[in-house]
Amino acid sequence: MTELIGISPQLLFAQVLVGLINGAFYAVLSLGLAVIFGLLNIINFSHGAMYMVGAFCSWLGMQYLGINYWAALILAPVVVGVIGLLIERTLLRRIQHEDHLYSLLLTFGLALMLEGIFVELFGVSGQRYPVPDLLNGGINLGFMFLPIYRAWVVAAAVVVCFTVWYLIERTKLGAYLRAGTENQALVQAFGINVPMMRNLTYGFGVGLAAFAGVLAAPIYSVAPHMGSSIIIVVFAVVVIGGMGSVLGAIITGLGLGVIEGLTRVFYAEISNTVIFIVMAIVLLLRPAGLFGRQS
């Protein structure tokens, strides 16, 4: 068998594809984070916990209410979104004029509390969520066995990412949102309810995290700590892409997924670190991130 940089081309293709699949997860998660930071200036450390709660919502729905995967895909983000609305209204709004650090600490505390509650209720080992029948099985691509469910994840992620980007960058609603961030008083003077818009944006952002959680549920074990192991990587993605840049989050998410996947083949020991190496290099060369606006 011919070899390419030490491994067979089949394995290389397979790794790139797997990297893209993981990247799709990073993209959806960092998208919500970028939206929340870009429009609300909140560093939402509870994003990983919301992802976990989204996954648990789908599991609980299936276990106790007989709600299937497809319904969960809509319902879990709605439930978590409503939780988000409440958190924004009762907690985050009180500190919106304070330094970033306040919202960071508040959301970090919330994440720890949520994880603690779920550990207490369900233990750490996690729960199993079956792959929906329609997406079970896999396709033999010749160079690898592609599980249909993973293909679906990529498709769903791409559609969601594009829709959100379009909504924020190309519609009137998005323009209001962006304007509200720039100058809240002025936009309010035009008769637009900016506090409500901020409230809905936060709910929408964490709803995206929950959506990623539902997508993840059939792949990974649904466990209380599933969010904390991924959140740091997702933050790095947002920083590399440019804080608050929606397009940056999407492209960086996919790109870093591939880089991480390839590192796992060539030097697996640094696969957790490689993203931060990239982050350090990017920050040195472009402090605002790849797609951030240089101020």
Binding site: V18, S221, H225, S271
Partner: protein, 404 residues
Amino acid sequence: MKALRTACAITAMTLGSTAMAADISDDKVKVGVLTDMSAVYSDISGEGNVVAARMAIEDFGGKVAGKPIELIYADHQNKADIAANKARQWVDDEEVDVIADLVTTSVALAVNQVADREGKEVITLISGAASTPITNEQCIATGIHWTYDTYALANGTGRAVVEQGGDTWYFLTADYAFGDSLQSQVSRVVKENGGEVLGASRHPLETSDFSSYVLQAQASGAKIIGLANAGGDTINAILAANEFGIVQGGQKLAGLLMFITDIDALGLEVAQDLYLTTGFYWDMDEKTRAWSERFFERHGAMPSMVQAGVYSSLMHYFEAIEKAGTDETFAVREQMGKMPVEDFFSRNGRIREDGRMVHDMYLAQVKSPDESTRKWDYYNIVSTIPAEEAFQPLSQSKCELVNN
């Protein structure tokens, strides 16, 4: 009047203690359970260990040699420094006599150093930690390793799998001391039995996506993919292998350290047919069932081998105090070594001078969903590995307490 009452009390106490000849320091025996209460190992250890310790104390009658037994516990968060500090506080200020569980190898080794300070020695009953240095290079005179270790796991699962034709291996290994230790010990067993190791991928601890690693293992063409990791890593690796059609493609998985709680998290659909080595299974006979049902009523889950081990080790400790008539550390340790360990948990058990409690281990295979009649009905015990074969022979020990 008051003086008279005091005098009477003193006389009574003196008479009482003379009658029993008991020499219990500070008039109580204090048990400390130091464990992981909320992180990755809290399902196999954690709250369940506190329940097991409480059951042991109650079953022993709440008193040993006429003195009350007290229980305290703390969360070490799997951090060696936190564990060592807590242990020091317990021994120096709170008169703790014995420390139980100590899940995570780094924690067990750190606490053993605290337990081995001259003049302040206490007994450690290690149930949750896995690595062999505990009874080799870093053994201490008062440390007892109760439930299992990486040697026994490697020996049990590794040999059984090779004997059944699984002679080429690829490892997915957690990149830290435990993973290394397990991989090297299983590799040795595989080679000794005529097998071959084709390669390994070392993944960071707490990896959620194993698809890259699973594809590498698939490409290696090895018959067996050995999972030298634990907890959430093992679970996610098995899920990925299942998803990417590894088992359907003819390769088999061998979980090298798996607990019953992991099988419960995976579900039998995914976990069926896996081989694993365990020191205890709740559904083996009347005695294991009786104890485990009682544990289940209190804890809401069947006991892991670590939790059953905590109970068993504490009962043996209490019996030794009762027999020796003192809770003096070395006297108790000596007495514990003299008595065989035979209870619902341990068959043919005895404590060696290196601190290893050797007992029968079991090779189990996970049942299929059709075979299982109820929740927690997960294992078929395939064979018993006799105590003397299951663990590292004393002749290979690197412990300085052993005269080799």
